[in-house]
Amino acid sequence: MLILRKFLRDIPAVIGLIIVVFAVIVAIIGPWIAPHPGDIVASHLLQRLKPPSAQFPFGTDNLGRDIFSRVILGTRGALEVALAVVALAAAIGVPLGLVAGYTVGWLSEAIMRVTDVFLSLPQLVLALALSQLLTPSLETAMLALALTYWPFFTRLVYAEARRLRASLFVDALQGIGASSARIVFAHILPNAISPVIVRATIGLGFTILVAAVLGFLGVGATPPQPDWGLTISESRNYLPDAWWYATFPGLAILVAVLGFNLLGDGLRDLVDPRLRRSR
């Protein structure tokens, strides 16, 4: 496989892949590998704010819970949120982009203008406003993120569909009696899917970051969930003495986001050689 060999030569992308695979494994087997899996809800006030030690590698928080366990247990939540948000955003954005790109006229115009409006608003602000408007919870935060992320997919797919619409094989398909729905979903979509995958991969990392920000601002996950952003938010009162309290969840966010971004960049280079990084 030529493409696999090309990918393996791209060191940053391979590092990204390793991080992502590692994160997924941790997310799946988290409850079994965490040394103190009960520490989601349990509190041990006697051992509060202990610095990192052999027993508590990342230290303990203000309720005496093992931060190492909570970071591990938080992985699943972070990935679930990211996956759900990106999947929902793609489910909204991709069909809209296909329809807008394939048709000509008021429908296409209307879809793209609405997309432009959503794109012109800063994503975080829109997500904050939406989750304030509804009751603050993890679900609302996810919905808000999805509602702000779909326009990126629409723009991307729109451009691809526009290009493919004029291609001769679409003419040929029309000429032999393929319906519009068949052409759009069975023939144009598979041609447009690779940039969507790249965008989704980068979007996963981005969503982890924004979800953490929402958690930090108190409009995302709610206590006692072991959410990374929420943990950093809770740690503010104990800085700078309990430095480990904010540092390790922060590092978890950094590494996860970095992993998805590196992988996404690597995939983009594979899909679109014109954008190849200069190295």
Binding site: G105, F169, A172, Q174, G175, I176, A178, S179, H187
Partner: protein, 332 residues
């Protein structure tokens, strides 16, 4: 004579563009008799491809048929809806060979998948089970691929379009057009993208297939040499107007219309001195009411610029749209 398979009468079509309404087709008129090959010849931009698109109903946005009829085998194509065209006409009774075989297949699917797809969506319920039908489709496709002389038909099904050469891809496109046993095949410059030797093989193949399957064929090209080899009948188009129609041999031997004469004089095989035709093709925006060739015509009269050309027939299947051949009483 039996009813013709395809009859285009007085077709007028315009496209709204940035510079105004372009009258792309102005009174296109021709007949394709059953079992014959009709060549539509004209310069680039004269509306050849638009005629094809009007017939199978895949006109670009902004295009509007203003007048005329297209009758195919008893159906008035312009009155049929999209759904009926898809299920009963396109692909099933009219096969379409698009311009460039390099781009005619979807690049992300295997050729076999795409050919099977065409078979599947035009399949009639024949009582066979799903697997029986698949098997029958596969056999038909393999038979066709063998017939169009594609090397290694079984292996071909598992390959992607880019793994074939231009000539092989043209064979695949022809097989795709024939897959559902159409009665009419429409080919849009199918040999233009190929080199001369491959072109020759494809022309021979088309000729044989037309005979073998009893096909009628509409063949659009700008190449008079190709027409001379392949087509029984010939219809010359200039700037969206029908100029001259008739038997290929008859027209090539004795052209009537001044444009046909000028065109033939340009052909390197015939011209001692490569002459060309003075002037350019007129813009289809505001073309005026007369003959569109009049500004470049060496024998044009005043009448030519104002009155649309009447056609006159010599009774032996030849027709010419030119004032010169009007009844003597009309030219005064």
């Amino acid at each position: 004579m039996a009813k013709p398979i395809l009859e285009v009468r007085g077709l007028r079509l315009s496209i709204k563009g940035d510079e105004g309404v372009a009258k792309i087709l102005d009174h296109i008129d021709f007949v394709l008799e059953r079992g014959r090959i009709l060549g539509i010849v004209g310069e680039s931009g004269c509306g050849k491809s638009t005629i094809i698109r009007a017939i199978i109903g895949i006109l670009p946005t902004g295009a509007q048929v203003e007048a005329g009829t297209i009758h195919f085998d008893g159906d008035d194509l312009l009155s049929l809806g999209e759904a009926v065209l898809n299920t009963r006409i396109r692909g099933s009774r009219i096969g379409f060979i698009p311009q460039d075989p390099y781009l005619a297949f979807n690049p992300v699917f295997k050729v076999g998948t795409q050919l099977m797809e065409i078979m599947r969506w035009h399949a009639t319920d024949d009582g066979l089970g799903k697997s029986g039908r698949e098997q029958r489709h596969r056999e038909r496709i393999l038979g066709l691929l063998r017939r169009v002389q594609l090397p290694d038909p079984e292996g071909a099904l598992d390959r992607y379009p880019h793994q074939f050469s231009g000539g092989q891809r043209q064979r695949l496109v022809i097989a795709a057009a024939l897959a559902t046993s159409p009665t009419l095949v429409i080919a849009d410059e199918p040999t233009t993208a190929l080199d001369v030797t491959t072109q020759q093989q494809i022309l021979d193949l088309l000729r044989d297939l037309a005979e073998e399957f009893g096909l009628s064929m509409l063949f659009v090209t700008h190449d008079l040499g190709v027409v001379a080899q392949l087509c029984d009948d010939l219809c010359v188009i200039y700037a969206g107007q029908t100029v001259e129609c008739g038997g290929t041999a008859s027209i090539l031997a004795q052209p009537h219309h001044p444009y046909t004469k000028a065109l033939l004089a340009c052909h390197p095989d015939r011209a001692v001195l490569f002459s060309g035709i003075a002037g350019n093709v007129p813009s289809p925006v505001n073309p005026g009411s007369g003959c569109r060739f009049a500004p470049r015509c060496t024998v044009a009269r005043e009448l030519c610029f104002v009155r649309p050309p009447h056609f006159s027939s010599d009774g032996a299947g030849r027709r010419v749209d030119c004032v010169l051949y009007d009844q003597p009483t009309a030219v005064t």
